[in-house]
Amino acid sequence: MLAADTAHRSALAALPAPPVTPLATRLTRLAIAAVAVVVLVFCWYEAEMNPAQLVADAGNMATLGSEFLRPDFTDWDVYFNSMVETLAIAVWGTLLAVIVGIPFGILCADNVVPRWVAFPVRRVMDACRAINELVFALIFIAAVGLGPFAGVLALFVHTTGVVAKLFSEAVEAIDPAPVEGIRGTGGSWLQEVIYGVLPQVLPLWISYTLYRFESNVRSATVLGIVGGGGIGMVFNETMRGFLYSQAAAILIIVIVTVSLLDVISQNIRKRFI
């Protein structure tokens, strides 16, 4: 026992000394922490963070809370119809985006098209993606007026940018061998894409599309608040009229619908991957 212990100690002594973090590294870490604190403090004031307000307006919060705890479903048919409208906006916004996103997604993939094609197409898609749906909604409301159609157009343009990127990344990750197999038989570029690329990326594309549809339903509820139609519009009206119980009912409908869709689409997506 003792012998084993001595042997163990001498073995430890033979090991090199444990590594020591150099002073420069430690100072750098300290500096990074200091900068982080400064940034956080700056952002606190910039965002006008004021927890005291929550206490000062406790009465308001209590009213809001108690009203929200008593959801009022009297006008449920109105809410239901506008939820359907929201879903319809998401369906068409997503579908149009996928139809346009497929060719653009392929034109973004530099293993399928030359770089001088992929580069400019990607920049256009970046622009579509960089601007939020809400901003697009404001633009399209100015163009086609208040209502769901403006919402569809807003989702369509933004989602095109998103799916084109997701689709092209799937294309760039394919196994090139089957494509060469098609090329070797004398197929055209389009045939290489259809027989070599599409079968490989289709399951991923379907999965991405369903995922985008889910998030477009969520976005579509918000679009209504700026005037893009659907349940968001009704929600906005109830909040402005201080009808918190009715607002709560609307929120419950939104939560149930979105959760239900998430479960359904997740199940479908599992089947494809």
Binding site: P178, E180, G181, G184, T185, G186, L190, Q191, I194
Partner: protein, 278 residues
């Protein structure tokens, strides 16, 4: 008659490495040729250049198949798609689309022959489907036609790839290490299928191989490459054990020495290249 495959002073340089170094080669219609050599000797690159999947250096001459241009001076010929239609390709990793059915994978072979629109839309007629099924029957896979390609074993997938070349109506089949990823039993089956196909349809066949025993057992003509050059081109009977040791050099361990070479052959080897084999 024009050669099944004609390479004229073809070179391919990757950075400082000459993967293929000034190779000229002529394969006659219906001829069966084994391409041997160690890993990195340039076999695969040569096959990719022959089919126009890789471009040769600009200093190279023309690559033609049955008189149709594949590439010239490092640029694809304008008739390359016509050339590719008569060249069937078989790859080490099969190059099938795993998610598509065996049948669809074989029908791809028809694409070069039918109108672009019909091919693009995938509207294959009953005749073409019958041809595909007949080809699958020929390689012994017909019963799996409706399965997804990836459900098949490696050897079966390789035979599907051969069926695709058959449906294509290829007059020359280039096979790049077709049995390198297969177990010995499947390997033999695939080699039998390739050679039978070549014999029955008069298809010229070029197969790159690691296994010298297969090269000598199945092929009359053997072309050996080393460091991008052709160092032997002649009947299999003239290959000696000494030459093989020289050819594979440091990588001799990857060589399965055929039993017939247990005793050194009497006939000395005369490499076609004027360069000594290093």
């Amino acid at each position: 008659m024009a050669a099944a495959l004609e390479l004229d002073r073809v070179s391919k340089t990757w950075g400082a490495m000459r993967a293929v170094d000034n190779v000229s080669l002529r394969i006659e219609p219906g001829e069966r040729v084994a391409l041997i050599g160690a890993s990195g000797s340039g076999k695969s690159t040569l096959i990719r250049i022959a089919s126009g999947l890789a471009l040769a250096d600009a200093t190279s001459g023309a690559v033609r198949s049955f008189g149709v241009g594949v590439q010239d001076k490092g640029k694809l010929s304008s008739e390359v798609r016509r050339a590719r239609r008569q060249i069937g390709l078989v790859f080490q990793q099969f190059a099938l689309v795993g998610r598509m059915t065996v049948m669809s994978n074989v029908l791809v072979g028809v694409l070069g022959r039918i109108s672009g629109l019909r091919g693009t839309l995938g509207l294959f007629n009953a005749d073409e489907k019958r041809t595909a099924l007949a080809a699958l029957a020929e390689v012994g896979i017909a019963q799996h036609a409706a399965k997804k390609a990836r459900q098949l074993s490696g050897g079966q997938q390789q035979r599907v790839a051969i069926a695709r070349a058959l449906v294509q109506g290829a007059k020359l089949v280039l096979a790049d290490e077709p049995i390198a990823s297969l177990d010995p039993k499947s390997a033999k089956r695939v080699m039998d299928t390739l050679v039978t196909m070549s014999r029955d349809h008069g298809i010229a066949l070029v197969v790159s191989l690691h296994q010298v025993d297969y090269a000598t057992a199945y092929f009359d003509r053997v072309v050996a490459m080393n460091a991008g050059r052709v160092v032997f081109d002649g009947p299999a009977s003239r290959i000696t054990a000494a030459f093989l040791t020289e050819l594979y050099g440091a990588s001799a361990e990857e060589l399965i020495l055929p039993s017939q070479f247990a005793v050194p052959a009497a006939e000395p080897l005369a490499p076609v290249s004027s360069e000594p084999v290093s």
